[in-house]
């Protein structure tokens, strides 16, 4: 058990805390993602309502009936751009987290390790881990829902094309359920990854809780 061992263990410790910081940022970025996606849906819905209202006021089809079939395509494009912007925003926020700021302090050796341990705000760290867990799960759920909406629009367009060419039609339930199943199947890997990471965050929380209670009670006798 040497100073190098301590330094290695402290590097693990601080890297785990860095990861928590990153996931904590993900949790706060999730709100942005939701707002952007919901805004893009609201924008498309408003557009749709305005077109319908104009139809009602003018008493005839305000938009050339030939173009009304194109509206779902615009909806798809608007939502697609919204989802892309949301993901970009989340990635940017996560990448803006400053990591490994502890390296200089840890290079001091044992004194640095002590300083880092003394300066760790345990209650804040625990609350960050809990928040990160929640954010991680919710972000996954919101992302699946956004992809579902995209798939729904896409499937709507596709069913229109299939209907025109092959004279086949899909009932509304199939139009809703098939995209959801498709998205869930395609997201299995991501969902499993999220499940594993939440488990890791959970175990980190337990380990740090133990460490905090033991270390706080301990007293070094010089």
């Amino acid at each position: 058990m040497t100073e190098e061992t301590l330094s290695g263990k402290m590097t693990e410790f601080m890297t785990a805390l860095d990861q928590v910081k990153k996931y904590r940022e993900l949790a706060s970025a999730m709100a942005d993602f939701t707002i952007i996606v919901v805004a893009s849906v609201a924008f498309f819905a408003a557009l749709h309502i305005i077109v319908n209202l104009l139809d009602v006021f003018y008493g005839y089809s305000f938009i050339d009936p030939g173009y009304t079939g194109v509206l779902p395509f615009y909806g798809f494009v608007v939502l697609f751009i919204g989802v892309l912007m949301g993901i970009y925003r989340v990635q940017r926020k996560m990448n803006s987290v400053r990591l490994e700021q502890w390296e200089g302090t840890l290079n001091e050796g044992t004194p640095g390790a002590l300083k880092l341990l003394q300066e760790t705000q345990w209650e804040k760290t625990f609350s960050d881990i809990r928040f990160a867990k929640l954010g991680f799960v919710l972000y996954g759920a919101v992302k699946v829902m956004a992809y579902w909406m995209l798939a729904f629009f896409f499937f709507g367009i596709l069913s229109g094309v299939i209907g025109n060419i092959f004279h086949l039609s899909f009932d509304p339930i199939s139009l809703t359920v098939i995209p959801l199943v498709l998205v869930l199947v395609l997201s299995v890997k991501d969902l499993r990854y999220r499940y594993d990471q939440v488990g890791r965050l959970d175990s980190l929380l337990w380990e740090l809780r133990w460490f905090d209670s033991e270390f706080r009670r301990a007293d070094f006798k010089a």
Binding site: M1, A16, L114, F211
Partner: protein
């Protein structure tokens, strides 16, 4: 020696820094020690008094401080003490 108010409970971080510096540099005068540990002279003197009382350091005829065997052992004990706790924590590997 101007010690002012004595230290009742030393900051382990400061203590470790002073010991580590003395371990690396050997006999060191107070001014050089204050510079290399980044402590104010008065604060350093208080720590040196405390450490001398505990037998961790001694002063030679030039009034330079040096580590005793107890001081060296204490530092090693401190490393072991932290490792005793940090070493038991199993950090999950985030991918």
């Amino acid at each position: 020696m101007n010690s002012g108010e004595p230290i009742s409970k030393p900051d382990l971080y400061v203590l470790a820094r002073v010991i580590k510096t003395l371990k690396e540099r050997g006999r060191t005068n107070r001014t050089a020690l204050a510079t290399s540990t980044g402590l104010s002279y008065d604060r350093l003197v208080k720590y040196l008094v405390w450490m001398s009382d505990k037998g961790l350091i001694q002063f030679d005829s030039n009034d330079d401080a040096y580590l005793t065997k107890l001081g060296v052992d204490t530092y090693d004990e401190l490393v072991k003490w932290i490792l005793q706790y940090v070493g038991k924590v199993r950090f999950p590997k985030f991918s």
